[in-house]
C-alpha cells in the first residue's frame, strides 16, 4: 500500500492503496463516486470512462498511481449547479433506457466536443464508436450530441 494523490473534479485526494489498483475502484470505493462504473474491466465497453486532461480514458485499465493529470468524472460536469449542456441534452432527448452505460456515453461525447465542437454525423459515430450500449440508444445519443452542437451554434449567433 502507498499514498496516491489524485486530483478529481477540482479537489485533491490522498488515498492509501496498492499502486496497481485500477483508478475505477479508487474513484468508486475510496472516493464514493458513482459516475464511472464497471462494465467489463477490460477497457472494451466504456462504462468506466473518465476525462483526464481533456482525454476520455477507461479508468478500469488505468493504475491509479500513474495518473498525474486532472480527472473529471460525470459528477464534475455540472458547474455552479447547472448541468453541462450534454447532460441537459441527454434529458431533453430522453437518451437512457437503463442508463448504466450513459456515464461513458456522456464523458466520451464531452471529450469529442471539446476537441471538435462541430462534428459531422460520421465524426460523431467515429468518436463514439467505442462506447457500447446494450439498450441500443445510439440514435438518441447522436441526437443529443447534435442538439448540443446546434445549441452552441445558436449561442454564437445570439452573441454575434
Amino acid at each position: 500500500m502507498s499514498i496516491v494523490s489524485l486530483n478529481v473534479n477540482g479537489a485533491v485526494h490522498a488515498v492509501d492503496i496498492d499502486p496497481s489498483t485500477p483508478l475505477l475502484y479508487v474513484l468508486r470505493n475510496d472516493l464514493g463516486l458513482r459516475g464511472p462504473r464497471f462494465g467489463c474491466g477490460l477497457g472494451q465497453c466504456g462504462a468506466c470512462t473518465v476525462i483526464i486532461d481533456g482525454v476520455a480514458l477507461r479508468s478500469c485499465q488505468l493504475p491509479a498511481s500513474v495518473v498525474s493529470g486532472a480527472i473529471t468524472t460525470l459528477e464534475g460536469l455540472a458547474q455552479n449547479g447547472s448541468l453541462h449542456p450534454l447532460q441537459q441534452a441527454w434529458i431533453d432527448e430522453q437518451v437512457p433506457q437503463c442508463g448504466y452505460c450513459q456515464n461513458g456515453q456522456i464523458m466520451t461525447a464531452k471529450a469529442l466536443l471539446d476537441r471538435n465542437p462541430k462534428p459531422s454525423d460520421a465524426e460523431i459515430r467515429e468518436g463514439m464508436e467505442g462506447a457500447l450500449c446494450r439498450c441500443m440508444t445510439y440514435f438518441r445519443i447522436q441526437a443529443a450530441i447534435k442538439r448540443v452542437v446546434k445549441g452552441s451554434d445558436n449561442d454564437q449567433e445570439v452573441a454575434g
Partner: protein, 616 residues
Amino acid sequence: MSTSLQFPKAIEAALRSANPSTSRRGFLASSGALVLSLGIGTVPGARVLAQAFAAGPYPDPDFLQLDTWIVIHPDNTATFFVGKTDGGQGTGTAFRQMMCDELDLAYEQSTLVMGSTDTTPDQGGSGGSDAIETDGWPMRRVAAEARRVLLELAAEHLKVAVGELTVNNGMVTALADASQAVSYAELVGGQRFNVALEGRNINATTGTAAVKPVQQLRVVGQSLQRYDIPAKVDGSLIWAVDMKVPGMLHARNVRPPVAGASLRSIDESSVTGIPGLVRVVSHGNYVAVVCEREEQAIQAARQLRAEWTPPAQAPFPASNDLFDYIRAATPMSSSEPRVSGDSAAAFASAAQVLEADYDVPFQGHTSIGPAFALADPSGNQLTIYSNDMKSYGLRTGVAQFLDLPRDRVRVVYMAGPQVYGRTAADDVGFEAAFLAHELGRPVRVQWMRYEETAWDTKGPAYAFKLRGGLDGKGKLVALEYEARAIDYNHLGYNEPDTVLIAQLMGRRPERTAAGGAAMPSVQYGIPHLRLAGHVVALPLVWETPLRTGNLRDPNGPQVTFAFESFIDELAAAARRDPAAFRLELIEASTEDQAFRRKRSLAVLRAAVEAYGGWES
C-alpha cells in the same frame, strides 16, 4: 408517537436511490438523524424509513390495505408504493401518471417506491411486458378509492355533499363556493387511511370507487419525461452497484474452467499473500474468494490455484456441429402440432414447393453491467440490494435456499443495468446471500465480464425447417414449420434448485423444466398450415453454462427470424414484392381478435410508408 432514530447511511442510500426525485428534494437530514412519526410519515417515504430501521421481521405488505399503496404527506404530495420494477422501460413514470389521474393530483405531487419486498405489495416485479396492461389496474383502482375516501372526508369537513365538491391538484373545493376548500394533506396528511380493500388476489384489488373514464384522464396521455433520467445523467442516483454498507466485503467467484468439471482441490497458499483476504469459500463446485477490497478480490480470484477434474468425455457438440446435432437429436419432448387444413395434400398439388433451413445460435443476455448483488446479514436478517426485476421471487427463493424464515429476508430493488428477461441478477443474488450468511458479514458480489458472457442465461439455440407451397398464381397455399430448440433445462426465475450456485453445489431439481420450441403467431391467412415444435437437450443438462432462459420477447427473435425470412423467400419465388405479398396474406386472414388483423395491416403499411423509397 414519534421517535428519534439513528439513520444508517446504507439505508439512506437505498431509499434515496429507490426514489431519486425525493432524494433531490434532500429530505434526509444531513445530520444523519431524523425524527419521524412511526406508522405514517411526515416526509415522503417515511414509512419506508421506519421499516428500513426495523431489524425485521418483514411481513408481506397487505395489498388489501389502502395504506400499503398510497401515503398522503403533510405537504400535499403522495408517495405510491407499487410491486413492480422499472429497468428503464419508463413504467415508473407511467404508474405515477395513472395514479395521479385517479387521485386528481398533479404528476409533480407524486413520488414512487417500487419493488422493495418489505414496503411495496407483491405485484411480482417485472415480467411479461404487462406492467401497464395488467398491474396498472389495481394501481388505478386503489388511487380512485383513495380519492373517494378523501372526498368523503372533505364532505364531512366542509359540510358539503360529495356531489357538490370538485378536486384539483389535491385540493378539494366546493363547486358553489371556491373559498370552501381543504387539501388532501389537511384531511389525512401524515395519517393512515385505515381503509380495507377487496380482491381475491392482488390483480383484483379494488375499493368501491370506479376508475375514471378515459375521456377524463389528463396526466395519462401526456408524453412526460422519465423522472429517473436526470439522476442517471448527473451521477446522483445510487444504483444497486453503488450500495455500500459498513463492514462490507468484496467477493469474486471462481468458476469451473470447463463445463462439467468437478473441484478436486484448492491450494489456499496460492492467495495467502494477498492483503485483505478474508476467506476462500467452497461448497461443492461453487468457489469464491472474499476480501476487504474489490481489487484484492479480483486479484485473489485470478490467482487462486484450484484443481478441477474435467468430465470424462467432451460433453458438447463442437460449435460448428451444433445445428447438425440439434437436427439429429432425439427430442426430449414434442408439442402437439398446430394444424389447419391439409398441408400434405396442398403440397402435392402445389405449383411450386420451397424448403429452407434456418439456424439461430444461443444468444447471451450479456448485460452491459455484469451481475451484481449485495447481501447484508446484520441484525439477524438478510437484506439483499439488487436489481433483480423479480425482487419478490429473489426474496422467496433465497429464504428457501438458506432455509431462513421468509420474513427475515427482504430485497431492496434498486436501479441496475438492463434486465431483458431472466438475467444472472437472480444467480448473483443467491451467491451474495449465501456468502453473507456464511461469513456473517455484508458481502458484495460482482460478476466479472467473462463470467457474465460464459455463465449468464442464454436464449435457446434453434434449428428450423420450413416448407411452403405456392399455387400457379404465386399465392401461398400451404406452409409447414418445424422448430427444434435447445431448451430442455429452461430456467425459471429465482428458483432455489436451478440458480447457478445451486447447480454448482450439486443441487438438482426433481425434473427439468419442460422448455419449449415456440411457434410463430401467424397473422397470415394461409389455407393449409402445420406448425410443430420439439425440445432438444444438450449433454450435461445440469452441469452446463448453457442455461437457457427468457430473453426479452422470449423465443420471439428466433422464431420471427426464421418465419419472416421464409416469407421473403416465398415472395421472391412468387416474384412478388415482399411487402405486398405480406399485405395480401394478412388481408386473407379472418382472425381479427383484439384488432390483430387491422393492426398488422396498419403496422406494415406504416413501415412501408416510413421507409420512404420503398419500391414495390
